[in-house]
Amino acid sequence: MTEKYRSKVGQKGQVVVAKQLRKKHGIKEGGVVEQISTDKGVLLVPVSVDDLLEELDAVAGEIGGAWPKDVSAVEAVRQDREKQWSRK
């Protein structure tokens, strides 16, 4: 059965998700929810830390695959900072 709750919209569109729904769907303070626009309204989907890490890993895989093997991240940043102050 679909549970329905109503809440008033506050400043900058803030709404309070009903306590029962927060508990049921594991929505906690500091957590992240994805807002999905649907024909009927806005759907809130909780995003876990693992989901966020998975997204990071996907990007890191793309970058890592093309990254030059002889340069570490630390060296890359250091090289860029050295070049910043050197003249051609």
Binding site: G31, E55, L56, A60, I63, A66, A73, V74, D80, R81
Partner: protein, 139 residues
């Protein structure tokens, strides 16, 4: 309790490069950011530097993926960007003079020092000099 930290570009670039020597450590740091253990405030110039550093090595298309991720993290309030004001510029210059730091290193250290945040960098040379001004963690 949430710990406020300042991340150097070396940590963020490492987090985005699978296979990097410090990637596992960088991923653990980002995990703490996602879980709310760490709240990051770093220089807005770090944002630009990370995108540029990655673009120069893997190309613009892939670097845009990184930019999009950083914007998402900003929207989710995981990272706050400290802008370089005249006051901060003066403080960073003082740090650069006193600690003989490179310009960009001094700008990042200033952000950490401003609110007594811990600095996390993978650059040992930067860490060695910065520890006279702030608490520093490395790999």
């Amino acid at each position: 309790m949430v710990k406020e930290v300042t991340l150097d570009s070396s940590v963020l670039v490492s987090a985005f490069v699978k296979g990097d020597e410090f990637r596992a450590k960088a991923r653990r740091i980002i995990e703490k950011v996602f879980s709310g253990e760490f709240r990051v405030v770093t220089s807005a110039i770090v944002f630009v530097e990370v995108c540029g550093s990655i673009s120069r090595r893997v190309g613009a298309d892939k670097a845009l993926l990184v930019k999009d991720q950083l914007v998402k993290w900003d929207n989710m309030n995981f990272i706050g960007w400290s802008e370089l004001t005249g006051k901060r510029m003066g403080e960073a210059a003082e740090l650069a003079v006193k600690l003989k730091l490179r310009g960009m290193n001094a700008i990042v250290v200033q952000v950490a020092r401003e609110k007594k945040r811990s600095l996390i960098t993978f650059d040992e040379e930067m860490a060695e000099k910065a520890k006279a001004a702030v608490e520093v963690f490395t790999h």
